[in-house]
């Protein structure tokens, strides 16, 4: 394969990502770093799914943490109440999220712009309320403990193990997303983003494609939610909270809409920054807000697209 083919292949951007995944552990001085990195990859997985919906198809969702919650509570409730293995509950949670996204998406994806934003916001709130009120199943506002993941009679524990699971799943999820973009479905989604009218007059079934990407992004979020619950060993309705939804949107926008690598960068920034800024004590949130504003002002298209554009401009 020539050098050009290597840089233009649809999966080319996975090479640096995979390199980072492998090299990072060599630099980590303690388990704490593994823990933070595992969280980054888990959130990046959800962000990639949301990016397919927002960055490519141009449909906003302010309720995606609802699907994090469905996935998270699936691995909390399934093993305890039904005696199901956790790995199966990840799959069941994903299927349930997909099914709910299908039912909810049909009516609300007809809405556009701000109206869609408010409808998805309502959906997220609804899930959070159900998770809080159904205390018999969910443990109510205080949440419930989540049994450890058991794979082939091996109890998964330890941040380093979760690092590899989360990073591996993220790379796989990113590969699927990059595949999708370079396909008729991916082109149709990007077309819908710019002109629904033109797309429909080129035989694209706009409603169906929107629904498909909404379901897909819900499945990404659900798997991430399951991982988050299993990794933490505990879950509360906060997983579906409004702030979580906004955080996911911020990761996508900050990293770069329509950039899969950007979703990883956005997730890394929003997971690592609050940890790094704790040294500022009372001013932590203020500093976080200022940093985020700074990034959006100076890197308008998001971190990864802005930097690649600047580098490409310098090269020519």
């Amino acid at each position: 394969m020539s050098a050009r083919a290597l840089t233009t292949h649809r999966l080319a951007s996975l090479v640096p990502v995979a390199t980072i995944v492998i090299v990072l552990p060599l630099l980590f001085p303690s388990a704490y770093y593994f823990r933070v990195a595992a969280l980054v990859f888990i959130f990046a997985l959800a962000a990639v799914g949301l990016n397919l919906l927002m960055g490519f198809a141009g449909q906003v969702s302010l309720g995606h943490a609802g699907f994090l919650g469905i996935g998270g509570y699936a691995v909390a409730i399934g093993p305890v109440h039904f005696g199901l293995p956790s790995w199966l509950c990840i799959v069941i949670g994903a299927a349930l999220s997909g099914a709910i996204a299908f039912l909810v998406g049909r009516p609300i994806l007809k809405l556009k712009g701000h109206y869609l934003a408010v409808a998805t916001l309502g959906f997220g709130l609804l899930i959070a309320i159900v998770l809080t009120n159904e205390a018999g199943w969910t443990g109510g506002p205080d949440g419930t403990s989540v049994p450890r993941l058991v794979l082939f009679e091996w109890r998964v524990r330890g941040s380093d193990t979760w690092y590899w699971i989360a990073a591996g799943t993220f790379v796989a999820g990113a590969a699927l997303a990059l595949n999708l973009i370079d396909s008729p479905t991916g082109r149709a989604l990007r077309a819908i983003h710019d002109s629904e009218v033109a797309a429909s007059l080129l035989a694209v079934d706009v409603a169906r494609k929107k629904l498909a990407v909404f379901v897909l992004s819900a499945i990404y979020a659900s798997v991430a939610g399951s991982y988050l619950a299993l990794f933490n060993g505990h879950i509360t309705p906060d997983i579906s909270g409004f702030l979580r939804s906004i955080e996911l949107v911020a990761m996508v926008v900050l990293g770069g809409m329509g950039s899969i690598a950007g979703s990883l960068v956005g997730a890394a920034l929003l997971v690592v920054l609050p940890q790094a800024l704790t040294a500022l004590h009372d001013y932590e949130h203020m500093a976080l807000g200022l940093v985020l504003m700074g990034f959006m002002i100076f890197l308008r298209q998001g971190i990864v697209p802005s930097i690649t554009a600047a580098l490409a401009g310098r090269a020519t």
Partner: protein, 262 residues
């Protein structure tokens, strides 16, 4: 055979009769133009014919099949394509990718094989890309293929829309003011393109204000005024028709014109 047939199509917007009882029979393989003063309802008629608006009254047939009320994407799948007066370009995609979307009608797609990028998807992508390049070459835009569509000049975007529509290999192509905003050189290029499309056996329906272009390329001309049919005929019939002159110039103007000619 008639490619497109409209039978007493009517639509009103808030009490205003935008199109009233308009009937058309467009023979296959011809260049059929729809002209009329501003506000005559030309674009509304196009939106009816391409399924964007649903008529309140009347029927619409495509290739002999009744397609009244069919969704735009299903009409497009049957082989009806169009361009837009106000450009509807996919600005975030490259010129080539824009045209590749035009191939959607001929692509087989399902979510799972697209996610896994099975070998069949790779092969189909290659075919789609080749066909899109050919369509770009046809409107002389191959040099722009890998540029973001947003960076193309206006005249090029007009032709990009035509290439995108042609990539779908339509049976009928509706062109909504393709020459609007184009300079004379671009308009001449456009004339050649319209002729070549018709030569390929694609039925062309043209809405256009540039009368030289209309008179040069049209086999039939249908004149609309205030949402109603005024006249239909060949270029020379329409040009000489007193009602057409009156519609364009007003009664006073038409008297002046008659005096000037006579």
């Amino acid at each position: 055979m008639n490619m497109l047939e409209a039978e007493r199509l009517s639509i009103t917007f808030g009490g205003v009769r935008a199109i009233e009882q308009v009937s058309l029979a467009i023979r296959s393989g011809l260049v059929f133009s729809i002209i009329g003063p501003n506000g005559a309802g030309k674009t509304t008629l196009f939106n009816l014919l391409s399924g964007l608006y649903q008529p309140q009254d009347g029927r619409f047939r495509f290739c002999g099949e009744d397609v009244t009320g069919l969704a735009p994407h299903r009409l497009a799948r049957l082989g009806l394509s169009r361009t837009f007066q106000n450009l509807q370009i996919f600005f975030r995609m490259t010129a080539l990718e824009n045209v590749m979307v035009g191939r959607h009608r001929h692509e087989t797609t399902d979510l799972l094989s697209d996610l896994l990028h099975l070998p069949a998807v790779t092969r189909q992508n290659r075919r789609t890309r080749d066909a899109a390049r050919a369509a770009l070459a046809r409107v002389e835009l191959e040099a722009y293929a890998d540029q973001p569509a947003g960076s193309l000049p206006y005249g090029a975007l007009k032709r990009l829309e035509i290439a995108r529509a042609l990539a779908s290999e339509p049976k009928a192509l509706l062109l909504d003011e393709p020459a609007a905003g184009c300079n004379p050189v671009e308009t001449r290029k456009l004339e050649a393109i319209v002729r070549s499309i018709a030569t390929d056996g694609i039925t062309v329906v043209l809405v256009e204000h540039d009368m030289r272009l209309v008179m040069n390329v049209s086999d039939r001309i249908h004149v609309l005024a205030s949402g109603r049919t005024l006249v239909e005929g060949t270029a020379s019939e329409v040009r000489a028709h007193p009602a057409v002159i009156e519609a364009y110039l007003g009664i006073h103007g038409s008297q002046e014109a008659a005096r000037a000619v006579g």
